[in-house]
């Protein structure tokens, strides 16, 4: 089949179906059983293991690896899932290289950590393939909790609440649950509709109802939820995106990276998804890398990530940066966009080099222009409009250690709440911990 790598503009079908399938196959394929045993055997079963401390959900990693090594991967999965109900997705998307695997003593010893993420996937895959849900609900409490957002924070919160016998209704703005697991994250990290399969599996606990296409501010109010439910958990993520504030930003093919990633994740046929021949991605985080790499995998000829600070300041991990470069993405650092070229019909982006002066980033007079027929903005997401009653901490909802907001009876967690990294695993931890606090509060109130 002909590949139209060099077609100008934004075009679909740059690479063949076969190439697309190969390009978007699993980044970290599942272990064969013996591979898993060999990988598990490398774990030293450390005392008070540093990997546990490094995991935002504090999974007992040495224990679950030992359970794999001794032929009980189902038990391993339960160890994982009791701390992190989305352990299957986290096994795929966690930046383990900056979390558990960075802390692994074998990383210190030989620069080759135990492959904790892949082992976690091995265990959780086996359990989920058997369609076993190892948790049950305690006796119904008669209490009800509203959860806003069916992303990682909301789902983790809902599941833990359901386990404790509360009835949960999740209000989800989109027509599908999963949040960024479903709409964000590069496709090669979550293949075979895993986010939906995991969601279905999670709901087997019972006691959780999801109402789709219901968003806060759009027919749904915080006060209304407070009236109707015993407690409210907000986990709606970041609905807005930052703008470049440049003239020409409204031009065709200048779009948000998150929208591109979501379109890509929802596309039935990736060969029908248009992508530019020359793509420029502005930003330095995971979203920038995901958008850039996937553009390349769709057949874009030139893909450049441009980041305004030095490469060491990029929030994308070293592993992600290496992945991008290995896939042929160019990373340009210390340059900030100053102009969209093309008079409304995008032809390129002009950047000015930046310098740090007295700790402040300053734009210099020296500029360059990158030709582009598609630009993705990946310069951060922001909280969409929130109920006024909620106190903010910076640009996010202020919460205490247990996830309590400034409004009594309202908790928040995940990307919309202040504190913690914007990671699936962090959202799960926050949702879970808020659920425990909600449970304690509701138990005390009865």
């Amino acid at each position: 089949m002909t590949e139209h790598l060099r077609a100008s503009g934004v075009a679909a079908g740059r690479v063949s179906q076969d190439t697309v399938e190969a390009n978007f196959s699993d980044l970290h394929p599942a272990y064969a059983p013996h591979e898993a045993m060999v990988a598990a055997d490398r774990c030293y079963f450390c005392h008070d293991a540093p990997c546990i401390t490094a995991c935002p959900t504090a999974i007992d990693i040495p224990l679950f690896i030992r359970q794999i090594a001794t032929g009980t991967p189902e038990g391993a999965a339960e160890t994982i899932l009791e701390q992190n109900i989305l352990g299957g997705m986290c096994a795929r998307v966690c930046p383990t290289e900056t979390l558990c695997e960075q802390a692994c003593v074998r990383e210190a010893a030989e620069g080759k950590p135990v492959e904790i993420g892949r082992l976690q996937r091995h265990a959780t895959d086996i359990l989920m393939e058997k369609d076993v849900h190892p948790f049950t609900r305690t006796e119904a409490t008669g209490k009800t909790v509203a959860v806003v957002g069916a992303g990682p924070a909301g789902l983790a919160c809902a599941h833990r609440l359901a386990m404790h016998g509360h009835d949960v209704v999740i209000f989800e703005a989109r027509a599908k649950g999963g949040g960024l697991n479903e709409f964000g994250i590069a496709a090669y990290k979550s293949t075979e509709d895993f986010a939906q399969r995991e969601l279905d599996w999670l709901l087997q606990i019972g006691g959780i109802e999801i109402r789709y296409e219901q968003a806060l501010g759009d027919g749904l109010s915080l006060s209304g939820l407070q009236d109707d439910f015993d407690a409210v958990f907000l986990g709606m993520g970041l609905g807005g995106v930052n703008a470049l504030s440049l003239e020409g930003e409204e031009a065709d093919h200048v779009t948000d990276a998150v929208a591109f990633i979501a379109d890509l994740r929802q596309a039935e046929d990736l060969t029908a998804l248009p992508v530019g021949r020359r793509v420029v991605v502005i930003g330095g985080g995971m979203t920038a890398v995901d958008a850039a790499v996937q553009s390349k995998l769709l057949g874009a000829e030139e893909v450049t990530i441009v980041y305004r600070r030095g490469q060491e300041a990029m929030s994308a991990s070293k592993y992600e940066q290496d992945l991008a470069q290995q896939k042929g993405v160019r990373i340009v650092c210390n340059a900030a966009p100053v102009g969209i070229e093309g008079n409304g019909a995008l032809s390129g982006v002009t950047f000015a080099y930046t310098e740090a002066r007295d700790g402040k980033l300053v734009v210099t007079d020296e500029t360059f222009t990158l030709p582009a027929d598609q630009v993705f903005k990946a310069i951060g997401q922001t909280l969409a409009e929130t109920p006024e009653a909620l106190k903010l901490d910076g640009r996010k909802i202020a919460v205490d250690g247990a996830g309590r907001t400034s409004v009594a009876g309202v908790w928040a967690g995940g990307d919309c709440a202040a504190g913690g990294d914007d990671l699936t695993v962090t959202a799960v931890a926050e949702g879970r911990d808020a659920a425990l606090d909600i449970h304690a509060t509701l138990a005390g109130a009865s």
Partner: protein, 434 residues
């Protein structure tokens, strides 16, 4: 390069590596391949009486214990002695010995505990041109139920009696192969010597069940739902074998009796250890069954290199060098005081030393909030457990306190003069220290 030529109880072979009597030496085809690969000698798979051939099971004969990455650590078997007709074996042995005159060819023999049986078969086997006999008093399975193998090896009087019959019958060297399935190896070894044996070889395999199939509730290896104890061998049994070899080598009345060391020899280093503890040569089986005959090439090159580095020119120069250092507990120097030392640069902070010491030993390692692990000399009894569980080689070592230093645990000054239990004040039968 060191000369590996070894003369063991009068039998010369180009190197000290013999293949033990076992499946690898059951027939001409294998033995020729072994000699081509470089083995110094072969103990032919045990020959039995003429008559209806031995019958083996038709299901699994071997069970195994694995380590990481399915590395074979231990093997057991329920195979019996050769199941091929005696004359076929004898004809093959004759041809092989004729073609490989420089290699040792030993006939392993097991016949019923009757004088006539032994006296009838040995001359017949000798016609093959073999260099000696090994009396199989070791096999713990199957044949033992019929009064042979370890059933003889567990009764010193039988060992002595049969050995004497054999020595009366042949001028060839007679090696007695001992079973480890006894409470004290010295009894059988002494009996062999008293019967006139030219050497002993040990250990034969250890009674064992390798595992239990938890689905079928049957021991492995399993034959139609049932299992029986088999003979355990391979790397896992080496420590047991080393001790038994050393016991014979250091015991005054058996000292000097040539020993062919057997039991988990897998590398040149294993062989050197057996030789250092008194073995005149070694026999190998499991390593060959795991990796094939080619391993002998590593054994030959490794032993040569080590001997060159140590300045040993002949294998005999090494034999028994470690034996004087094997002693009884009561003679160990109680004034030898060591303390564990953790190399902080090498430490990877896994905390296994801490867990081991804290949970199961003497609470002598401290752990700081930032995972620095340090030995507390006032608690350390120098048990060595931390050294053993540390995954980093040479990260934890034992430092010897010099005389005059104070052992912080006991508050006592380390004495220069050795002193052992025999002179210790707590010992009721202590003799006064000089």
């Amino acid at each position: 390069m060191a000369d590996l030529t070894t003369t063991f109880c009068g039998i010369t072979s180009p190197n000290p590596f013999w293949l033990a009597s076992a499946p690898p030496t059951d027939k001409e085809y294998n033995v020729r391949r072994a000699f081509e690969a470089g083995w110094g000698g072969v103990v032919w798979k045990t020959l039995g009486e003429d008559g209806p051939p031995i019958v083996n099971v038709n299901g699994p004969r071997y069970g195994a214990v694995w380590g990481a990455d399915r590395r074979l650590l231990g093997l057991n078997n329920i195979e019996l002695i050769t199941d091929r007709p005696l004359q076929v074996n004898l004809d093959e042995m004759t041809r092989v010995k004729k073609d490989y005159p420089d290699r040792a060819l030993i006939a392993s023999v097991m016949v019923p505990c009757e004088e006539a049986a032994w006296k009838e078969i040995l001359p017949r086997i000798a016609e093959t041109g073999c260099d000696g006999f090994e009396l199989n008093f070791g096999c713990p399975h199957g044949m033992a139920e019929r009064g042979m193998g370890s059933a003889v090896g567990q009764v010193p009087e039988y060992i002595e009696m049969v050995t004497r019959w054999c020595k009366e019958t042949t001028d060839l060297p007679v090696i007695v192969k001992l079973t480890p399935n006894v409470t004290n190896i010295l009894g059988p070894a002494q009996a062999a010597k008293d019967g006139g044996a030219d050497a002993v070889s040990l250990i034969n395999t250890i009674n064992s069940i390798t595992s239990v199939n938890l689905d079928t509730m049957s021991p492995e290896p399993m034959i139609d739902g049932k299992g029986t104890h088999g003979g355990y061998c391979g790397p896992a049994v080496k420590p047991i074998a080393l001790n038994m070899v050393a016991e014979i080598a250091r015991n005054p009345t058996t000292h000097g009796l040539p020993i062919s060391g057997i039991g988990g020899v897998t590398t040149w280093r294993d062989a050197a250890e057996f030789i250092a503890l008194g073995a005149g040569n070694v026999q190998v089986c499991t390593a060959a069954m795991t990796y094939g005959f080619k391993i002998v090439q590593e054994m030959v090159s490794g032993l040569s290199q080590w001997m060159d580095e140590q300045g040993h020119t002949r294998v005999e120069d090494v034999v028994g060098r470690a034996v004087p250092n094997v002693t009884d507990w009561q003679y160990l120097n109680l004034n030898y005081v060591t303390k564990a030392r953790i190399d902080q640069d090498a430490c990877i902070k896994c905390g296994r030393c801490y867990a081991a010491c804290e949970d199961t030993s003497h609470q002598a390692i401290s752990m700081s909030p930032d995972r620095v692990f340090e030995v507390m000399d006032d608690e350390c009894v120098a048990c060595n457990l931390c050294v053993n569980v540390c995954p980093v080689e040479d990260c934890i070592t034992m430092e010897t306190l010099t005389p005059g230093a104070v052992d912080e645990r006991t508050g006592k000054t380390v004495e220069e003069e050795p002193a052992n239990w025999t002179v210790h004040p707590n010992n009721p039968s202590a003799t006064a220290a000089e």
